[in-house]
């Protein structure tokens, strides 16, 4: 089949205008690199700030720490929530198992979980750079693609949290990068090891967070397209391995694993939340989404579908689930890794002029009329590629407007804080499910947190707190996991009788509320039997401290 290049390198015609074009391209590339590296500095500063913060920053982080503490003691966190202390986890175990070895050495702390999350994003960025370099041999584009991932507002927000999401994305990205060129390995033995390693990483992603199921489907779709026989055999073995772990967890927890991680995760779907978050995702990442989708179309009609394309499309599709109650913008993180990777490959191959297009019925109507424009495409791409990264850098603008260095840049850019604690963020709440985070914490926040801990420590008996940190730091038991209790209650899977009875009996010396995510029965009992005693502001949220009402 005849193949013609969609674009050609310009080096064949060394005229003066080419030299100017290359110079302009180099300058624009340096600007793009400077912008995205700037976001790298902001990201490192943010990570360092959060790692030093000893309390919950994002809602629910403390319960990830509780899971980690339980694993470090050899306990599974999938427990019966109908009985005291009403606690259970709703996430798979791997991230907490990875953090558990830190507990015997460093004790209770948020920093190691946040450090793991942060390092996971760096590994993901490295894998993206490797994949882009492998396909296009352009180190600058590979670096830009990796930096673009770290510059995403979504990745920035959740990267350095004590949460498992970005570790899942790390395993997913590593899996597709390992599997992408498996067929090119000449040795059968090494090819099988490659397949084993790639599928093990998919399994690791799935046992880090349930959402990785989509990546598993994408991986097997890719394997099926390349070799149905291999996909079926490896799929059966993969299913047996994954199923065995699942079964063991379910038996070991007397069915709580299924109840807490599967049944409880069926939540209300809010379409407006999904559309809002898709709009936000496109507004922030559109400069890379469009090239990534163009490359996906190129592979679909003019080349072979790569695992990267199938995975990215699956990642974009899974964004639909962001409309579930309790879900949010983090559900787009996989697609962001995918679009950074795919757009990077597209840019590198466009600049290399090796996007060959076969003569076929689709090309006849879409590409053939444009073939004469190939030199213009080549010339334009020299400017367009760095301009896309610059445009992306403008779209994801986020930085502190206060503090050494940052204040000067904010003044130069003429931006003012639009988020908490003097932070500017081009992302923002245009729909539910958006995490209002990204700002830096302050010493005042830390002081406020310790004041709450002192109140918890001084309270008689147990304390019911919506965030686990205060109880953990005050050496008191953690009672319940509010969002998990709400998930269960919404599905009719939780009996609130025992916890409500404790509240009605005013057994808790203190109740600490933040977002009031407890089930309605619990909130009504609290309102009837506890009264507000103090409000302490920390990290932009008002923590309500409630004490028992007099009889």
């Amino acid at each position: 089949m005849t193949e013609l290049p969609l674009s050609r390198p310009l080096s064949a015609s060394p005229v003066r205008s080419d030299a100017l074009l290359y110079t302009a391209s180099r300058i624009l590339t340096i600007v793009a690199l400077a912008i995205l590296m700037g976001y790298g500095v902001v990201y490192i500063a943010y990570a360092a700030n959060l790692i030093a913060f000893p309390f919950d920053y994002d809602q629910g982080e403390g319960f990830e720490l509780v899971d980690t503490l339980l694993f470090s003691q050899g306990e599974l966190p999938y427990k019966d929530t109908d009985v005291y202390p009403f606690y259970s986890s709703n996430y798979p175990p791997l991230f907490h198992v990875m953090a558990a070895p830190f507990v015997p050495v460093f004790g209770t702390g948020y920093w190691y979980g946040r450090l793991l999350g942060f390092l996971g994003t760096l590994v993901t960025a490295g894998a993206i750079a490797l994949a882009v370099y492998r396909e296009g041999r352009r180190p600058t584009i590979a670096l830009l693609a990796a930096l673009a991932f770290l510059a995403s507002n979504t990745v920035y927000h959740i990267g350095p949290l004590f949460r498992q999401h970005m570790t899942m994305v790390m395993f997913e990205t590593l899996a597709v990068v390992v599997l992408a060129h498996m067929d090119a390995i000449p040795s059968l033995r090494r090819r099988r090891w490659g397949l084993f390693a790639g599928l093990s990483l998919v399994l690791a992603a799935g046992y880090t967070k349930q959402l990785a199921l989509t990546t598993a489907l994408a991986v097997f779709a890719f394997l099926f397209i390349r070799s149905p026989r291999r996909a079926i055999i490896s799929g059966v073995l993969f299913g047996l391995a994954g199923g065995a772990i699942f079964l063991w967890l379910n038996i070991a927890t007397d069915g709580q694993w299924w109840l807490q991680t599967i049944s409880a995760n069926v939540n209300e779907f809010i379409p407006s939340q999904t559309w809002g978050l898709y709009r936000l995702w496109f507004a922030l990442h559109g400069f890379l989404i469009v090239p990534a989708l163009m490359y996906a179309l190129y592979e679909l009609y003019f080349s072979r579908l790569s695992i990267y394309t199938i995975w990215t499309i699956a990642g974009i599709g899974v964004g639909v689930l962001s409309g579930k109650w309790g879900a949010g913008d983090s559900y787009f993180a996989t697609s962001i890794a995918g679009i950074c990777l795919l757009s990077g490959i597209f840019f590198a191959r466009l600049l290399n002029g090796d996007l060959a297009v076969p003569r076929n019925p689709i090309a006849r109507f879409t590409i053939d009329p444009l073939r004469r424009a190939a030199p213009i495409v080549a010339a334009g791409s020299l400017l367009l590629v760095p301009l896309c990264y610059i445009g992306y850098g403008r779209a994801v603008l986020h930085l502190p407007t206060e503090g050494a260095g940052f204040a000067v840049i904010a003044d130069l850019l003429g931006i003012e804080a639009n988020a908490r604690n003097g932070f500017y963020d081009s992302a923002g709440r245009i729909a539910g499910g958006y995490a209002d985070i990204g700002h830096f914490t302050t010493q005042a926040d830390i002081d406020a947190g310790w004041r709450i801990v002192e109140r918890v420590r001084a309270a008689p008996g147990d304390v019911l707190s919506e965030e686990a940190a205060f109880n953990l730091l005050a050496d008191k038991p953690v009672i319940g996991n509010p969002t998990q209790l709400l998930n269960l209650a919404n599905n009719g899977l939780w009996d609130p009788t025992a916890l409500v009875a404790l509240i009605e009996a005013r057994q808790f010396g203190l109740i600490v509320l933040r977002a009031q995510f407890y089930p309605p029965d619990v909130l009504q009992a609290i309102a009837a039997h506890y009264g507000q005693d103090e409000v302490i502001a920390m990290n932009g949220f008002n923590y309500l401290l409630l004490v028992p009402k007099s009889e």
Binding site: P271, Y301, R304, N360, P361
Partner: protein, 77 residues
């Protein structure tokens, strides 16, 4: 039967046309299955819900893309 045997034989790879056919059949099948939810579950209220509408759109898109792949013949997918 011999066709299935051929598909699962070593070295077989899916062509653009076969992928298109699978996507077309899968998309149409999914469309019918989504609509069947309302036909079979007569007790449901409110007609085709928002999640169903999204799923219908996705199924239709998959079927449509499948159709566009059919003319590409035996080129490997």
């Amino acid at each position: 039967m011999s066709r299935i045997r051929k598909i699962v034989s070593p070295g077989f790879t899916i062509s653009k046309r076969l992928l298109g056919l699978l996507m077309l059949l899968g998309g149409v099948g999914a469309l019918l299955a989504i609509l069947a939810i309302d036909l079979l579950d007569a007790g449901r209220q409110g007609g085709i819900g928002p999640a169903q509408q999204i799923a219908l759109g996705a199924a239709a898109l998959i079927a449509l893309v499948g159709v566009t792949l059919l003319p590409l013949g035996e080129a490997p997918a």
